[in-house]
C-alpha cells in the first residue's frame, strides 16, 4: 500500500485542534468513581499449561459496573517478587487467547497481565469475557455500540476495565506497583493511551500503532475497518452526525495524551491504512510527558514494527524499570 496520508515532515509537526468537551475530566472522574464503587475482587487461579518456565494464572476482576473481566497473569516460575509488571491490552476483535501465546514479557523477567476485552474475542483470538450491556441499534462490530451518548458508549466500559486491570495487577503480591507499564497494539494502543491519561502514576506507556485517536479525521480518511464502522453507521443514521461527534470527543486518544505524563514509546507505520499515521502523530505530538519517543516504520502498514518493535520495547523498558 502506498503512502496516502500527510508527508512525513508534516506528520512530525502535526498538531490538529482536536475538540474536547469542557467536562472531559469530570466525565472520566465520574466514570472511575462509579467503577470503583464496586469491589475489585481480583482473583488469580493457577492454570496448568504444561509450561515449565512460566507460571500462569486465570485472572478475574470487577470491571465497569462490577462486571467480571478476565485475563491471564504470567510470571517467571519460582521467582520471588517484587517484579516489574507489564499490563497489556488486545487489538480490536481479539480476546485474551490462550496463555502460551503471551510468553515474551514473562520470559524477560516481568510479571505480565494480559486483559481480555469485553465482548470481543470471536474475530481472531479467542476471548472469554462477556459484555452484559446491550445497546441501541449499532453497526456490526463494537465501534458504534451505545454511541448516541458518552455514558452508554462501549469504550466507556472498556477504558474503565483497563484502569481496573492496572489495579488488579498491582494487587498481586509479586508485583511492584511502582514499576508498572501499560502497552498494547492498535486498539490495545488506544487503551494504553486512555490508561496513561487516567492513571497518573503508571511508570511507562508503550502504545503501538494506536487506534482510537483523532476520530474526526480518521473516519474521513480511512477505508479499512474498524474506523469506517462509524462512517457506515452515519450513512444510515444520517441525523446522528452531531451526537456521534460529541460522544467520540470523550474518547479521543489525543485528549488522553494531553493528560499523560509517563515516559512513553510510540510506534507508527507510515503506510498504515487502518490507523493512519496522522492520527497517531496527532496523539504523539499532544503527549504531555517529556520522556517520549516514537519509532517510524516507513513501509509498514498496520503490522507496524512487529517483532522488531517488541525488541525495541524490551530495551526501552529495561532502561526504565
Amino acid at each position: 500500500m502506498p503512502l496516502f496520508d500527510l508527508p512525513v515532515t508534516e506528520l512530525r509537526e502535526y498538531t490538529p485542534a482536536v475538540e474536547e468537551p469542557g467536562d472531559f475530566s469530570a466525565f472520566w472522574a465520574d466514570t472511575l468513581s462509579e467503577t470503583r464503587a464496586h469491589k475489585l475482587e481480583a482473583t488469580f487461579e493457577p492454570v496448568d499449561t504444561g509450561l515449565e518456565l512460566v507460571e500462569v494464572y486465570d485472572v478475574t476482576f470487577a470491571g465497569w459496573a462490577g462486571d467480571p473481566v478476565r485475563g491471564w497473569f504470567l510470571v517467571p516460575a519460582g521467582r520471588p517478587g517484587p517484579l516489574p509488571c507489564v499490563v497489556q491490552y488486545q487489538g480490536y476483535g481479539g480476546g485474551r487467547g490462550l496463555p502460551h501465546q503471551w510468553l515474551y514479557w514473562a520470559s524477560a523477567g516481568y510479571a505480565h497481565l494480559f486483559m481480555d476485552t469485553r465482548g470481543q474475542g470471536s474475530g481472531w483470538s479467542v476471548g472469554h469475557t462477556p459484555d452484559p450491556a446491550g445497546s441501541a441499534p449499532a453497526h456490526p462490530g463494537f465501534m458504534t455500540r451505545g454511541i448516541e451518548d458518552p455514558h452508554t458508549y462501549y469504550y466507556r466500559r472498556v477504558f474503565a476495565d483497563a484502569v481496573r486491570a492496572v489495579e488488579a495487577a498491582r494487587s498481586h503480591p509479586l508485583v511492584d506497583p511502582a514499576r508498572l507499564a501499560v502497552t498494547g497494539g492498535s486498539q490495545g494502543g488506544g487503551i494504553t493511551l486512555a490508561v496513561a491519561g487516567l492513571v497518573p502514576d503508571v511508570a511507562a506507556a508503550m502504545p503501538d500503532v494506536p487506534f482510537l485517536c483523532h476520530f474526526q479525521r480518521a473516519i474521513e480518511i480511512t477505508s479499512q475497518d474498524p474506523y469506517p464502522e462509524i462512517a457506515r453507521y452515519l450513512t444510515v443514521h444520517r441525523d446522528k452526525v452531531a451526537p456521534v461527534r460529541r460522544t467520540l470527543s470523550y474518547f479521543d486518544g489525543v485528549s488522553f495524551s494531553r493528560r499523560a505524563t509517563a515516559p512513553t514509546l510510540f510506534s507508527v507505520g507510515l503506510m498504515d491504512q487502518i490507523c493512519p499515521p496522522s492520527t497517531v502523530y496527532a496523539a504523539y505530538n499532544a503527549y504531555a510527558g517529556t520522556d517520549k519517543s516514537i519509532v517510524e516504520y516507513p513501509f509498514n502498514d498496520h503490522e507496524g514494527g512487529g517483532p522488531f518493535h517488541e525488541r525495541e520495547q524490551l530495551a526501552w523498558l529495561r532502561a526504565r524499570m
Copy 2:
C-alpha cells in the same frame, strides 16, 4: 453467480434429516409464556409523514422481557375496519426505516405493521429498537450473540418479539384478527416461518428467500454473510462446535415449518448465494400446511423475485384474505 447448489430436480425433493431437540416445543412454549408474562401495552402514535392516502402510526409494544419494540403501522386513510392485515419482518441488518418506504400493502387496502428488529438497523435501513441484552464474546453481527445457549441466543428474543408483533397488530381496532398474514424477506422470511410455527392461527405466511433454515448445511456451503458469521465464530471458538449446533437446533426454520399449517407462498432464488436454495427447499418441503406453493427465480441471487414477487404475493393473498 452460477448455480452452485443441488440441481433443481433434487432441490424439489430435498428433505434432509434436520435434527431437532426433544424439548423444542417446550422450549418455545416456555419462551412465549415468559414473554407474555409482561403486558403487551401496544401503543400507536400518529406520525405526520405528509402522505395523504395512508395514515401512519409509530408503534411500540412489549417484546421479549417486556423490552419496548418499535414498528410502523400503516392503514388506508379514512377506511373503516375491519381490515385484513399484513405483519412484515425486516431483512438482516436493516431496521424499520422511514414509514414512507412501506406503502405497498396499505395502498392495496391492507393494514400493515412493519416490525423493527431489535439492535439492528444500522447497516442499511435505519432502526430504532435497542437490544438491552448483552452477550458473551460474539462475532461482529447478530448471528452469534448468546449462541452458547438457546436461552441466551439473540433470535430467541427476536422470535418472541415477532409473535408479540402479531398480537400488537391484532390489538388494533381496525384489524380483523382472523385475516392476518405474516411475511418478510431473508431474515424476515426466517422470522415469518418461526411465527407461522408458533402462532397456529395466522391466516397466511409468505416467507421470501428465507434465512435461518437448515443451519448445519448453510454454514458449510455459503461464503456470503450472514451465515458465515457462525462459521467464523467457530474458527476462533474451536471448542464450541457442539454447543453451537445444539443452540441452532432450537431455531431452525425447518423445525418451525414442520409445525406451520397456514397457507403459504414461498420464493427461492436458484442462484442465491446467501440463502442457498437447498436450505429454502429444506424448509418448504418440510412445511406442514397443505395449501403451499413456491415460486422459483432461476437466475436470481438473493434479490429473488423482487417487485415481480411482490406482485405475486398480492394476487395470492387477495385470493385468501
Copy 3:
C-alpha cells in the same frame, strides 16, 4: 469509502470554468424542434395492479424521432384534478420497473409520471422502451453510444424524451400544467437538470446526487462506473479525445444549470464515488435560479440521503406546489 474529493469548504465555492460550445442553445433548440415535429400522441392505458388507493396507467408517448417511450402514470384513486404533478427520471441502467415500486408521490396526493429510459432497464430495474438507434463502436453501456458527434449521442435522444415526458404529463386532464416538478436521482438527476434548463416553466427541479455534470473532471477522478465507461472508450479510441470532449460539452449538466431558473433542491453525498461532490457542486453553484438549496450527506456514498432525502423533498415541494 473515505473523502477523496475537494474539502467541503472548497466544494461550496467550486465554480470551474466548464467549456460550452457557442451553439449550445441552438443545438438544443434544433433538437427539440426536430422532436416536436412528431406528434406527442400520449396514451394512458389503465393497468390492474391490485392497488386500491392509487390508479395506474401505462403511458406511451412519442419521444425523439417519434420513437414510443413508455412510463407509468400514478394518481390518487378517485381524486378530481387539477393535481400537482411530479415527473421522475430513472437512474443509470434501470427502467421504469413495476408500477407499485413508485407509490410515494401519489400517496402524497400528486400525479406522478415515471419515465422509462430508452434502451435501459436490464441492469437492475426492468425497462420496456427500446432504443431503435444503433451506433458506431461503443463501450458496453450507454455512455459512449454515438459519442463521436453530438447529433448522434445517446443522451440527445434521452433528453429529448425527457422534455416530451413533461409534455405528456401536462397533456393529461388531471394534471395542472403550472404545478409540475421534475426529479430523479443520479442519471435521473442529470436528466432533471437538462429538463430544467430546456423547459423554462417547470415549477420545481429536484436533482438528487446528479450524474452527467462536469464531465471533464468526472472522467478523470472517478473509478466507479458509469463515468469511466468514457475513459475506457478513450483508452481504446486514443485518437478520439478531442471529438469526445466536444460532444460532451453539449450535454453537461453545468451548462443546463446555467439556464435553469425553477426553484431547486439538490442533494449531494460527500463520499460519493460515482458522482463526485465536486461535479455536483459545479452544477449547483452554476444554477441560475435563486430559490435554490442543497442538502449535504457527509458520510454517504452515491446512495445520498435515500429515504431521508425523499422526506426532505416532500416537505420542500409541498411548500412550493
Copy 4:
C-alpha cells in the same frame, strides 16, 4: 483457477442433448438469402502502414441489411495469386485494431482477411464498424441485444456478416476460393463454427476456445463475462426465460457443429472460466466433419494455447491447404 467443470475423461465423451428448433436450417437459409439480397460490393483500399513485406487493404463489404462492414486484408507483398486464404473473426469486445497487429498469416504466405465485429471494438482492440440496429432494453454488452426474438438478435447480424466476409475474401483476385479457412478465438471461435455450419465449402475451420456454445449450460455454470450478461438480463427480466432460451437455440455453436463438415482443429483450456470446457467439448463432440482434432491445454484458462496454439494451427493448416 482450479478445475471446476467435468473431469477430463467425461469431457471427452460429453454429448449433451442441446435443443434445436425445427426451423433452425430454414431460419438461417432465410437469413442468408435476406443478406444476399444486398450486393456484396467488397472494396479493398490500400493502406500505407510503413510495412515492406506485407501489403494491407482496408476492406468494406455489405453485411447484414447491406450495412458496411470493415476489415483488414493483408497479403505477402508482391506475391502472385492464387493464394490460400485465412478469414479471421475477433474475440468479444474487440475490433479489427490496426493492421500491423495481424502479421502472422500473411508472413506465412497466406492472404488474410480480418473482419471487424459490428458495434464492438471499444473494449480492448479498436473497431470501426457501426451497428446501425438499435434494440429493446438490453444489458450492457452485446449478448442480450434483441434477444427477445431470433430475428432481432445481435448475433444474427454478426453471423450474416461473417458469411459475407468469406464471400468478400473469395471475391479478391489474389484469393483461391477453394483454399479458404476460417478461424478465431473465443467469440471468433463461435463465429467460426457458425460459418463452418453455414458455408459448406470452406476448406478448414479452426475454432479456438470457442464461445457461443451450449448456452443453456454456459449461463448456469460460469461467473465470468460475457455469458453471465444473459443471466443478469434474466435476473431483471424474470418473465423472459423461455423466449431467451428459444432465441439462443438458433445460435448455438453445437447446432452449427452438427452441420459443419470441413476439416477442423479445436483448442480448449481445461481451466477456462469464460468458455467452460464442457461447452467447448459439447460443440467438438457434435462436429460432423471426420477430419477433426482438438488440443487440450490442461492448466490454461481462457488464454488457451496462445502462441503455442498458433504454431499448431499453422502446421495443421499447411498440411491441408
Copy 5:
C-alpha cells in the same frame, strides 16, 4: 470459506494412488549422501535477546552443497541436559524471524531448533539464509525453481537442509538425540513429513496442515497460493506438464509418509483452501507409523488449530518424550 473438498467421511478413507518413481529411495539416498559429503560444521553463537528465562543461540550449519543454513536454538536458561528437542520448520515465504517469536517449546522445557528456509524470509517473517543456487525461468516464488528436473528442484535443497538441521540439533551437547521431534505448519509440515521419511529414528513428527502433499490433485483444485504457482508456470510452459509431474513425484509428502514410522500427530482444517484436506488426508492415510492421530478443525481454513493445536501438541509430545 465453505467446504469445497471431499465430504469428511470420504476424506477419512481417502487413499489415492499417488504415483512414485522407481528410484525415489535411491534419489534421496544419493541426495543425502551428497549433502553429507560436506562437513556439518554446526556452530551455536549466543545472542543477547534481553530474555532471562531462555538462552538463545544463532545457529549455522552446512546444508545442501555445504551452503550455510541459519537457525535459532533456544534452551531453558541454566538447565542441564540432556534435553528433549523439537526441530521446527517454517511456513512458506517466512524466515526464522527474531528469536523471541519462538518461546513456546523452550518455556515448556525443550531444546528448540528453528530452521531458516533458504532464500525465503522476505514475505512475512524475516529470514537470513541465502539460496546460492540460481534456476531456469521460474514463476515468482519458490515452487517452480529448478522444477524441470528433480536434481535441480528447489525443495531438494530444502529437504536436505532439513535433515541436516536434525543432525545439527543432535550435535549440541544439551540435546538428547533419542528424544528429538520434528514439526512445522504448512510448508513446515511438508518438510516435517520429508524428514520423518528420511530420518528413520526421529522420535516424533507433528506435521500441521501440511503442504507439499499429493501435488497432482492440489494443483488442480486450489486457487490460493502457493500450489497455483505451479499451475501458472504450466499456463506459460505448456510443453512442460510431463517433466513437472515427474519432478514433483520425487517430492510428494505422500511418498515420504509411506516411509515414515515415528509416532505422529497431524492436524487438518476441513475448510483449508491452501492445503486442501484431501491432500492432507492423502498423506495421513498413507503414513506408515502406527502411533498416529489427526485433529480435525471443521470450520478452519489454513490457520488450522492455531494455539489450540499447539496446546494439543505439547500434551501429545509430553506423553511421548
Copy 6:
C-alpha cells in the same frame, strides 16, 4: 483508473533531485568490463517457424559472467544487408516467447533482435534463459534479488546482458552497426534507458512506459506490482531501508537518462498505475539527448499507446534510420 499522480502541467516540468552515487559511472564501467572479459560468442541458429516472409534465428550470446543469454533474431527473408536493426527488451515477468509473436520490425524491413530476460518468462510469455545466480532472501519476483548490494543486484546482470545484446546484434553480418535502435515497454523501457546510457553510439532509443525510474518515489506511490515488491521486502526487512536505497541508486533510469544522448521517443500513460507518469517524466525530463519527444496517452493505464504507439514508433524511426 482515475488520475492519481501530479497534474499534467506539473509532470511536464517535473525534475526531481534523484540521488546518484559518486561512483555510478565507475560501477558501470567495471560491470561492463567484467562482462566483456568473457567472449561474446554470439550464435544464430536458424529456426523453422513455417513463416515465409521472415527468417528466424535462435540467438545465444554470453551475457553477465559469460552466462548464455537467449533471444530471437528475425530478418526479412532473402534481403541483403546491411539492414537497420532494432534490439528489443521484454516487460517484467515475460520471456522471449515464440518468434512469430515478433513480426513487426522485420515486416517493416528491419533486422530485429528480441532478448530473453534471464530467469523471467514464466509469468506470461515463455522464456528460456536461466539465471544461474542465487540470492540472499528475496521477495517473490525479481525486484529484490541481491538487493542488499549493488554488485549482487539482479538488474546488474540484466543490464549487462542488454548491452551484450546490442553487441550480439552488431556482430551479425546483415546488421548495420551504425543504424541500431533499442526499445522495449515497461521493464523493457527501463532496460532501454540503461542501454542508451551505457552504449553511447546507439542510433535511437524508444522507451515505452518505462519501468525502473525514480525508485524512491515509485515505491511510495504505487500499489500495483512490481515496484511494491521492494516496499513489501522492506516491510519485513525493516532494518534494510538504507542499503536498499543505496543499491537502487545505481540502477535508476533517471541517472541513465542523464547520460543518454541518442535521439529518443518516449511514451507515457497519464493513468499508469504501474509506472506512474511522474516517474516516467522524471526520466524524460532528465534525458540528455536533444532530439527527444514523448507521446502522452491521457486515459491509458500501463498499456500506454499499444498498437497506436507502435505505429508512431515506426514513423519516428523511419525518419531517423
